[in-house]
Amino acid sequence: MDEFMQQPLQIDATRKIIHIDMDAFYASIEMRDHPQWRNQAFVIAKDPRKTGGHGVVATANYIARKAGIHSAMAAQKALELAPKAVFKTPDFTLYRQVSAQIHAIFHEYTDKIEPIAFDEAYLDVTENKLNIASAVQLAHQLQSEIFTKTHLTCSTGISYNKFLAKLASDYRKPVGVTIIQPGDVHSFLMKLPIEKFRGVGKKTVPKMHDLGIVSGQELFDLSESKLMQHFGKLGYILYRRVRGIDDRPVEYRRDRKSIGKERTYNQLLISDAEITAQLKMLAGLVADALKQQQRHGKTVVLKVRYQDFTTITKRATQTEFVENSEEAIYFVANQVREELQADGQKIRLLGITMTNLAPLMFENITLPLFH
């Protein structure tokens, strides 16, 4: 029987999308710079023996992963799994530098780059600067250029949309190049375990299993209305994904999500007057940066680090856009500060960030009342 209000589906297979995933990015950088760690389990995390058991794993090399260590695991747990593993405190400044280096390589091929993290990006190479018609050839060339210039390996996935490209890069690691052709999509997706579908997380997996859905095939067999009934908007999306449909563009012009400024104080801030003065200064800097970027925001985030290094961030969202002025931003930031109720604690860092940004398409002129 036909579904009530069924929408026609169309597969757009005209694009060439590559998903690039650096292989164990942080760990590989560290092993490149410290070859002595190459043949042993190696974990990027603060050493739990020095932090008293605190900290989580940022990432680990493939040897450590074989021992069952994965990112976001407690560092203490990783130590139990691999007592001989080397622990290295992450050096994000270095990783950011390497990431920028890799992005520069991407730009030789295309400017349509959507960064997902330091170590992951989508590239739309339908049209590319080198006029390479074969996406597979382009992926190989990119992979080897990245290796030549950085001595790091990556895995690439190629298909006609982001969903499939990401699944492809995940298919063979490390140093893989996987292409999913339109003709192969159906059989590939039917075999795919349900938890590999993006959006199907910890909470959704049990619900899927309850409905007897363990792989793409069972998902495919369910009607759109049934899926929407059980999973709402996710159901709508999954109905399309399992048919190889994902029209999301590679968002290469993604807007900045926040603009913020912070300062660290070697001479810790104690007095109210000092804190107020610094907050006003930061508010002014944020206002200037927002004006320069022609945006305004609704949410002010205050970051405070106390003498004992405990760091607190707290936010306040306004119904209207906060005016890009020192007074207006300071006012909201100070309200947030008052809510912290941490009088008397010495402060080593203050930061103000504006998020929930929108382009500043207009600005109401302000009467010069106070000057």
Binding site: E327, F331, P359, F362, E363, I365, P368
Partner: protein, 379 residues
Amino acid sequence: MKFTINRAVFTAKLNDVLRAISSKTTIPILTGLKIAVSDQDVTLTGSDADITIETVLPSSEESTNLTIEQAGAIVLPARFFSEIVKKLPDKLVTIEVSDGFQAQITSGSAAFTINGQDANNYPHLPEIETKDGVSLAGDVLKEIIGQTVLAVSTQESRPILTGIHLVLADNQLFAVATDSHRLAQRKITLPQAVQERYDVIIPGKSLTELSRMITDSQATVELRIAENQVLFVLGNTMFYSRLLEGNYPETSRLIPETEDTTIELNAAGFLAAIERASLLSHESRNNVVKLSVTAADNTAKITGNSPDVGNVEEAITTTSLSGADLEISFNPDYMKDALRSFGQSEIRLSFTSALRPFTLVPTQDAENFIQLITPVRTY
């Protein structure tokens, strides 16, 4: 304490006092209504610490049907008490506190007992000592408030702008409010010169509440100003408000003295057009309406554009149009508020340039009433 009173008269006065009572006050006892009974009258008091309203019901006034058996005082939970009194069955209501802080409310066949608090714990009203008061016609005061309060700031970041700046000097009353994007200014000539010069900032919220209490039957309102508060006397009702502290910015310099483009039109007709144009702009992230004036062919039009929804264009009927061509964008909400304050009047809009504030004045009385709006810069 015991008295019997006409329920309708009592309810009307109760409603006045309730305007000052908020359930969100920081001082718990202020969620209550104070009832004080003397040999001659019943006084009701409500306050939220910013506004205090006190009203007296004298037994000498026949319509009150007031009979007092025993003097005394009590504070009763305002919300429950008023809801009870409003729903009672009989024409009369008797309120009695015989012992402790419990009040019996009886009317016809209904009898309530509610818990109250000791009236001695209720904050004392500050005494207002002024030599002279100023008498204002009720309708005039109401009009002044209505015409200026719209420009009061709702942002607490500049507390002083949440008030109306009121200056009384010689035989003139001057009121101005601004939230820094618009400004409303009104002047009136007083029938009598005032003895002293007064320069105060009254919270906009207080004046909004006050103006709701001024009814057609309120011929005059007496204004008395003290150090940090103001008292409005409306017959048997006293309305006290805290004043805002600080110096109000000097605003007269902000009103443009020249004009390069002017149009004259009917406020109500233009308001309707702006309301239509803002239907779309409200949907959009840029709540902006643009006015374009072309002198050569004597036309003016407004346009609104919301990329997601669509756009609107409307030719504006003007009675007169002169000066240079102009394209100016503004927030239609500010324009609507300003236009409403003119009612059905013919008004004149004067512009200097696209990024300078512009003004609206009644064509017949340009001197005494002005609305100013700052334009919007679009990118």
